[in-house]
């Protein structure tokens, strides 16, 4: 296959970026999308150019490092797929692929396709935890948890923190990310003790960091590689309201 690429290049956070066109031959449909970028970088290095910087690590869809807007969609075509799980068989010979970093004020570009997602850590540090020091926990089976609640909490907890939800949202809202964590703990008895403080602290931090509000477009759910549902947002709103009146 031959692939035409239009990739966002930006030297650093302060520099002005631009799209640069590349053409790549001998792309195999078996290659992953990131392996295709590896091949491009290989070519660029040998020709004396600078390779394209992009973030990646586990390359199996679980670490949340990889990002990229591919032809206008976070993580590209394919449902519930991260960029690293995307394969070139999803594209056609001769096709042009536009590759951009996450587009969001809250995630500034650091270089080429790498953005700064540190804001997510700040929100978790504000309250996305259960306060339990090592050594002070009781036997695991002392508190029973309904299987359906545990399973639901697991789905919320499977968020990989990639930021696609924010990138897809026209308001750059982090509601899906925050609500998934709030929900996980709201569904479990272990998380109940601090529920009121948690939701307030996390929402306050989210607002402080400049993330937008939710206007129910469901764009976040559509692009979430882990299939996290907007019902989490509804649950967070309930938790938030409850916290306000309690």
């Amino acid at each position: 296959m031959n692939i035409k690429l239009k990739i966002w290049r930006q030297k650093n956070a302060k520099a002005k970026g631009k799209f640069v066109n590349y053409s790549l031959d001998n792309v195999s449909p078996e290659m992953s999308f990131l392996e295709m970028l590896d091949a491009l970088n290989n070519k660029l290095i040998i020709e004396g150019d600078e390779p394209v910087a992009f973030e990646h690590d586990c390359r199996e869809g679980i670490c949340g490092c990889c990002s990229l807007y591919i032809n206008g969609t976070p993580h590209g075509p394919g449902e519930k797929t991260t960029t690293c799980e995307l394969h070139m068989r999803s594209f056609k010979d001769g096709q042009t692929i536009v590759v951009e970093p996450w587009r969001s004020k809250a995630f500034p570009v650091m270089k080429d396709l790498i953005v700064d997602r540190n804001a997510f850590d700040k929100i978790i540090a504000a309250g996305g935890f259960i306060s339990i020091d090592a050594g002070s926990s009781q036997d695991s089976n002392a508190v029973l948890v309904r299987k359906e609640k545990a399973d639901e909490a697991f789905i919320s907890a499977s968020c990989i923190g990639c930021g696609a939800c924010v990138a897809a949202c026209k308001n750059a809202s982090a509601m899906l990310f925050v609500s998934a964590k709030v929900s996980q703990f709201a569904l479990l008895p272990q998380g109940k003790v601090e529920a009121v403080e948690r939701v307030q602290a996390m929402v306050a931090k989210m607002d402080e960091l400049g993330f937008g509000n939710c206007t129910n477009t469901y764009a976040c759910e559509a692009v979430c590689p882990k299939g996290i549902s907007v019902t989490n947002i509804a649950r967070m709103n309930r938790e938030f309201l409850y916290a306000k009146i309690s």
Partner: protein, 639 residues
């Protein structure tokens, strides 16, 4: 000369840890506040240790090369985490978990450490559950368990096929809580490039800020490495592509001894190589072998599609060779058997380097729904990567590098041979002998981080209460920084024609061919020569583009590959020394008539401990003899 003292406490096995804690020295809370601890790596071991030490009141500085601690590769562990809870009433106990690990490790691990790992496993599960880790539950609300490779009880706690992710995120949330409280300071996008040793004690590290390229000096009263394993030395492995051995290598060069470097686990089931640009291999969990049957065609070079090959022309070689365990033989045995068939010309797929893992019979017997319930996410993952639907066609699998049992040598306190330098989790050598059992890696990482290091570090720190803040103006810091600067300059100065990755691939191939699943003297000796030649070529012709003062991923890779040449030689040297077969280390010269591994307890019942003597010098071998006081050493037999 450094003395090799494993510091195993006196007393019966079951009382050692209790006795140790009763007699260790403590640091009072007011003094802890004045003590700095540097911790490198934020996987399950590192995150758990960081939060626990922060809770105790130490000033902790944590470093990771990713953008956030939540990305560390513990996140990718699939199957589960073991604990000796005996919730199933099936005869489990701390002793049984300990015994399974000792036997699974082929009698090449230290009894006292393994027993403690089993002992703290229950508290670990309690801690993770209390943190909100959503482990699978029964309808009655209690935690569920499943079975895992090579044991007869159900002791594995799990969260679907994402147990590592859930455990890591639990530990991460605890770490972030401490960051919010200010007891822990987080330095992300930093790579440790050098260890600083002052007056014989580990006192700091040099890091490169991966955004600005700036070299930074960080000091502490102690340094903990939680930097994982070195499986990416094979280039293709199940590890994250940025995982590396550089921190451990830096420590080794500064005087920390290395234990059993050649003990590397090759996992039998990962998705095989599909193209020449393949950058990693994705694991297909061991649990699949509960229902999948492994086979190759009986006819050499049979290229028919799997479904066209009739039953009588299939060779279910694991069931044939190991009737007692069948498809559920331990990892090392399964990997070697697959390699044997492929080498003999019976492999399937375009490359001939894979075998079938077939669910046809299980689907016929249990129905598609039952299989989907158990393995749905893995089947999905397989289809995304290969484009093949495993409900209709067999999966194709092949072994790949997965886990390193070897690592920095540590004593009972998890301290290396450099006072004040500790190694926890996969980065140390201590708990898995020559082969690790499934679901015991998360167990060890979390146990080390939550319950072992917070207790054992006090013994060292109590001797440091009169030591004031370590100054980064010390000449040792200057020297270490200068060494790193020079190495970086040297990498750019080569300005050759070949990419870093091309060298890494070639190194990986040398290691895979000669120091992988099967090893022999001739191949290992050849590998030493090939590594030297490749290293020479690297320093003459590698191309590192860009500059130091920016994000430069090629520079990061170059430094890691440069370190791997040395570590590769150490692995091979250790493999050459160990003339026996044991666990994952299979020496062709030491096998039974039927091709099984033959251990040699008379000559090799020891941990090989290597001391760095210089880049051009042979490392010095020391031996920690393994005296089994509490278990009877037996042969492993799976027929």
């Amino acid at each position: 000369m450094i003395k090799l003292d494993s510091k195993i406490p006196e007393g019966p096995l079951a009382e050692k840890w209790t006795n140790y804690r009763a007699s260790q020295k403590l640091v009072n809370p007011a003094n802890k506040k004045k003590q700095d601890i540097i911790l490198v790596g934020t996987g399950l071991a590192g995150s758990a240790a960081a939060s626990s030490l922060g809770e105790l009141g130490y000033n902790v500085k944590v470093f990771c090369f990713q953008d956030t601690p939540r990305r560390a590769h513990s996140v990718a562990a699939q199957g589960g985490i073991n604990a000796a809870k005996n919730y199933k009433n099936d005869g489990d106990s701390v002793y049984r978990l300990f015994y399974d690990m000792i036997k699974g490790g082929d009698y090449r691990s230290r009894e006292a450490n393994v027993y403690r790992a089993a002992e703290v496993s229950n508290a670990t599960i309690d801690q993770l559950t209390a943190q909100g880790v959503p482990f699978a539950r029964e309808y009655g609300g209690t935690l569920d368990n499943r079975s895992f490779g090579g044991v007869q009880v159900s002791r594995t706690f799990y969260a679907k096929g994402q147990t590592g992710q859930q455990c890591l995120l639990g530990a991460y949330s605890g770490l972030l809580r401490q960051i919010g409280k200010g007891t822990v300071t987080m330095y992300s996008r930093r790579e440790m490039l050098e260890l600083v040793v002052i007056d014989g004690k580990a006192r700091g590290i040099i890091t490169r800020n991966l955004v600005t390229g700036e070299l930074e000096k960080h000091s502490g009263h102690a340094v903990i490495l939680a930097t994982g394993g070195y499986g990416t030395i094979y280039y293709l492995s199940t590890l994250a592509v940025n995982s590396n051995g550089s921190a451990a290598w830096a420590a080794y060069k500064k005087g920390a001894f290395f234990g059993n470097p050649s003990f590397v686990q090759i996992h039998p089931s990962s998705i095989p190589v599909l193209n020449e640009y393949q950058s990693k291999l994705t694991l297909m969990s061991e649990s699949l072998r509960n229902d999948g049957r492994v086979w190759v065609p009986k006819k050499k070079g049979d290229k028919r599609p799997a479904n066209d090959i009739p039953e009588e022309e299939r060779d279910y070689y694991l069931e044939r060779r190991y009737p007692a365990y069948g498809n559920l033989v331990p990892r090392d045995v399964g990997s070697r058997a697959a390699k044997e068939r492929c080498d003999a010309g019976y492999g399937v797929g375009d490359t001939g380097l894979s075998v079938n893992l077939d669910f046809k019979d299980a689907i016929a017997k249990q129905g598609k729904k039952a299989i989907e319930d158990k393995y749905g996410n893995l089947f999905e993952m397989y289809e995304k990567i290969t484009g093949i639907n495993p409900y209709e066609e067999p999966m194709r699998i092949y072994p790949s590098g997965h886990y390193t049992m070897g690592g920095l040598w540590v004593d009972y306190e998890l301290m290396t041979t450099i006072p004040g330098l500790f190694a926890i989790g996969e980065s140390n050598f201590s708990d898995h002998g020559a082969n690790r059992l499934g679901a015991s890696s998360l167990m060890q990482c979390a146990g080390d981080g939550y319950f072992v290091i917070p207790n054992t570090i006090g013994n060292f720190m109590s001797g440091e209460i009169r030591t004031s803040k370590i100054s980064t103006d010390a000449p040792e810091f200057e020297k270490a920084e200068k060494d790193v600067t020079e190495k970086i300059k040297k990498l750019f100065a080569v300005n050759g024609k070949q990419t870093v990755t091309s060298f890494h691939k070639r190194l990986g191939k040398i290691m895979w061919d000669n120091s992988g699943m099967s090893r022999n003297e001739e191949g290992l000796k050849k590998a030493l020569k090939l590594i030297d030649e490749l290293k020479e070529e690297f320093w003459k012709d590698v191309k590192v583009p860009g500059t130091n003062d920016e994000i430069n991923q090629e520079l990061e890779k170059a430094g890691r590959v440069a370190d791997y040449f040395g570590l590769a030689k150490l692995i091979v040297t250790d493999g050459l020394n160990r003339g026996e077969s044991c666990g994952a280390h299979f020496r062709e010269e030491s096998q039974t008539e039927t091709g099984e591994a033959k251990r040699d307890d008379a000559n090799y019942s020891y941990v090989s401990v290597w001391e760095y003597k210089g880049d051009e010098q042979e490392p010095k071998l020391r031996k920690e003899d393994l005296n089994y006081e509490f278990v009877e050493v037996k042969e492993r037999d799976y027929k």
